[in-house]
Structure formats: C-alpha cells, structure tokens
Symmetry: C2
Subunit: 311 residues, 2 copies
Amino acid sequence: MPAKNIDLTIIGGGIAGISAAIYSHRAGLNPIIFEKNVLGGQLLYIDTVDNYPAVYPHTPGIKFVDVLNSTLQEFKVNFINESVEKVELSDNGIVIYSENDTYLSQALIIATGAKPKRLGIEGEDLLIGKGVSFCAICDGFFFKDKDVAVVGGGNSAVEEALYLSHICKKVYLIHRRDKLRALDYLQKELFSKNNVELVWNTTVEKIYGEGRVEGVVLKNLVEDKKINFSVSAVFIAIGIEPVTEIFKSIVDTDRDGYIITDEWMHTSRKLIYACGDCRRRPLRQLITAASEGAIAGLSAYKDLRGNYISQ
Amino acid sequence: MPAKNIDLTIIGGGIAGISAAIYSHRAGLNPIIFEKNVLGGQLLYIDTVDNYPAVYPHTPGIKFVDVLNSTLQEFKVNFINESVEKVELSDNGIVIYSENDTYLSQALIIATGAKPKRLGIEGEDLLIGKGVSFCAICDGFFFKDKDVAVVGGGNSAVEEALYLSHICKKVYLIHRRDKLRALDYLQKELFSKNNVELVWNTTVEKIYGEGRVEGVVLKNLVEDKKINFSVSAVFIAIGIEPVTEIFKSIVDTDRDGYIITDEWMHTSRKLIYACGDCRRRPLRQLITAASEGAIAGLSAYKDLRGNYISQ
C-alpha cells in the first residue's frame, strides 16, 4: 500500500528535471524530484558553458549546478536522493518504487536523461575506469603527457579531442567516416592542433591491456587492414542513449528508446510527460532541455488543475 | 540591386533573436541582427525574472539584457539598429529592405515578437501615454497614490495589478469573466491585497478624459448595466499579438497571425524560420524563446551548410 500521496513526481535531477520542478512548483504544485546521484546531471561533466543565452559565456558547468541547486532550495522543492527502481500504473494513480519507499503520484515527469553509448567491443567493459572513459573532463588529467585515443566524429568527440590536446602528448581521433559531423568552428580549431592526428575510415576492433589500457586494434575500412596503436586511454564519444528502460512498457518510445511526446511534452500516457535527453527531440542542448522542463512542468499543472495558461 | 550579401538575417532583438544569433554565429555563419529599438525586446519591460533556470531568482530584467548584449559583443555579432520595412523573395535569395539599405540574404529568421493587444474602444488610442498604458513597470510610478484600473484576467493582468498595488491607492481589476485565468500562486497573492478590487463580468466601453485619463465607462455583462469609475490610469493587459504583418504574404500564419513552424522552426518557406513570440507555440516564456532561437539558428546553419548536428 503506497504510503505517500503526491501530486507530481519528477525522475531525474538534470537541468530538464530541475526546470520542471521550478515551473510546476511556482504554479502551485508540490513536486518531488528523484535523483540517485547529486543534482546536475550531465552538467557535472561539462567544463564551461558558452552558449546558454542570458548566462555569460565561459561559465563553469559547476556554477550552473550551483545556481540550479540554490533555486530548488529557495523554492523549497523536495529532493529525494534515491533511484527509482520501478513505475507501475494503478487505478489510483502512478506507483513509484524508489530504493527505500513507495509513492502514489497523480502525475509523472520523466527527465532521466541519457548516458554514453558503448562500442560493444572486446576489452571495453573490462577496462572502464582503467583507461576506457566516456568523459575527458573527468579523466583526462590521469593521462597527462601520454598518448590517447578518442573515438567518434561529432561535436562531443571533437570537443573531447580538443580538451585532451591541451593535456596529453598525442591524441588520435578515430572516426569511421572520411569527414567529421562536428560544427565548423570546432573542426577548424581541431585541425589547428599539432598533436591531434585524425585516423579516418577506421573502427576500433578491440581494446587491450593487462589491468589498464595499453593499446587498441583498429581496422581501416577502405584498405581493409588492421593497425595496432599503443595508447594509455580510449575516450569513447560516439553519442548517447536514453535512460528509459523502466518506462518502455508504459509509454511509447522510438526504435532508439527515446520517449515520443507532443510539443506539450505529453507522452502516449495521460499525466505522464517526458523532457530533456530521454525524449525524442530536434536539438540536444542545455537551453532546449531547460525549455522542455518548463513546458512539462506547466503541462502537468494544467492537466491536474484544469487551468488555462495564457503565457 | 542589393548591395550587401549576407548568409543569415535575423529580424528582432529580443531573447529569441539574440539566441538565434549566438547559436548560428558559433556554428560558423555570419548573421546580421536587425532591431529598431535597443536590444532586449520585452525584457526591457520586465521587473525581475524568477523562473529562468540557471539564473538566480529575482534577477532584474535589465541584467538579462546586459548579459545578452555582452554575449553578442564578445562574439562580434553584427547588429543594425534599423527597422526592416519589407521582405521580398527573389531568385537569388531573400531581399531585406531596412530603413537605409537593401540586403540580399540566403536565409531569414523571424523573431519579431509580439506587442500588446488593444481593446479597440473610444479614447484608447487618443490617451496612450496620457494614462492609457500597456506596461505597469514602465508607467506605474506616474500614478503613485492614485486610483487606477487594470483590464484582463490572465497572468499578465494579475502581475500588473500586484505591481500597481504597491504603488497606487486603489487598483480595480476589470475582467469580463467570473474567474481569473492566472496561475494559482498569483491569484492567492492578489486576493490577499486590501487595495485591489475585482470587478467581475465587466468590460470597458470607453476611456474618457480631457488631455489625460479621468475615468472609464464599464458595462456589467450579467446585469447589463453601465458603471462609471474615476481612475487616473488604465493598464491594458488582455494579451499580445504577433508582429508579423510584413511576413504574411511570404509564410503561413494561423488566424491570429502567429507564424506556423515545425519543431525545427522551419516555416512554410524554405530557409525562412520563426522563433519566439511571433511563432505559434505552446508556452510563451523567456526560456522557451531562448530555446527556439537556438534551434532556429542551428536549423539555418544545417540547411545552409548541409552539416548534420549530433547535439
């Protein structure tokens, strides 16, 4: 029997979830926000933010987290530092099973975000934390003056390579195609670096090492030949995948697992909303996640209270 | 013959247009932003902003404008302080006629925002600036310790009434229905004010006065009778309407004049985008306008340069 009745549950404490909490709380709801780690989501791994309108460029990611935390505290939003294990629908509402408790909620906003995709190759899982990393800002310093590899060809991969170029001796950027997908200005900056070598048309077949990464076996797709590079770390930046596993039986997702919503952030299920990186969306940016959280929060308010919102 | 070739024109210097400029510029385009007034748009009339995620609550609207200006300056975005009079399509691109010059642009982002709706009654136009106002923050102080009226029932009307309740002797809130559409917390605060009187089921028939507002003639819709109130000012807050007149022959709009776009901010016309308050959208907030500007800016980049953007 659920012990605690609440009007709105938000799962995920990144900028989307926090924005949803701010907006729904200000509108008069009493949301609870669940986050198993500290608040901040992917912001915790961002060095500086340059492109969030109305915040000065070059603001550290951690400063964003600080402002978001302060805002939640000022508005006295309930934050529960537990993971949600399971969500079930019942006649009385949505049942939320957290690590330590059970809640009955009238509405639910899913803001669980995304996590880095893995290559799915030999050595990858075994050597995570031992040279295999998904975050140059987190782990780059451990490989000061060493040779490292970055895998990928989008904005993230180029940003990781640029970041590492200031720390490491040599950075190999391994990409399976013959051109990058990153924004022009990032590419320009990358090509200006002397210690970055682009390895085109190449995939990673295997990461090897005894207890720590010692090298990678690569495959050149054009010449169909294998190459062996000695590196101390492999930074994987081939994109992200949504954290939506426990919701797939409840709401519609696309083939990649992203939750499908309308522009009001309604999912296929009444009173359940999704926003941020767990949602299928045109552009994955902090500013779009914040906007979607605001819309989801006010949608929940509107649907629960029946009030029309003029603006 | 157009003299100046540019890749992207942005019309409107509110947060949507500025966000579009930041994003498109960082992606490698060289946008020009047109604004006939100073930059800032409706932010110039906002007292404090409480609900923009990652900015501390209670930040003055003018501080937002300052950060946005600094960002444009840091990125050296071209700003032209002129109004755009006309936009035409040609075989070579989009022709932009500003006050003083003509430009040929490959792409266009419309971010012209919205302006307050008028009642369309006797005395209104004549007494604008003489007691008829659309902005309590701008003009409220001129009516310190006087009796004033606010017209409307949504968030804006209630916010105007609350703001004026701290300055004026008495505030009449005149609303044509028998309940407000504003958010709960705003209504609660309003009902707690001793010097605010709600005038339900009532419309304004006429605003009168010799050279300045002296009173209003009201009509009670339920009892079908007329009432005369002496007031020194009438603040009209019945919503906004999009500033889209010069674009209606070029892109599709809805019946209220809002420009219709998809979620990438594409209008019905190739290489023309719309974002912010001039666009049909679910929620009119600073944070949604900033997000839409970012999407429009990167859409233009993507369509002009053919680059895929991963995030």
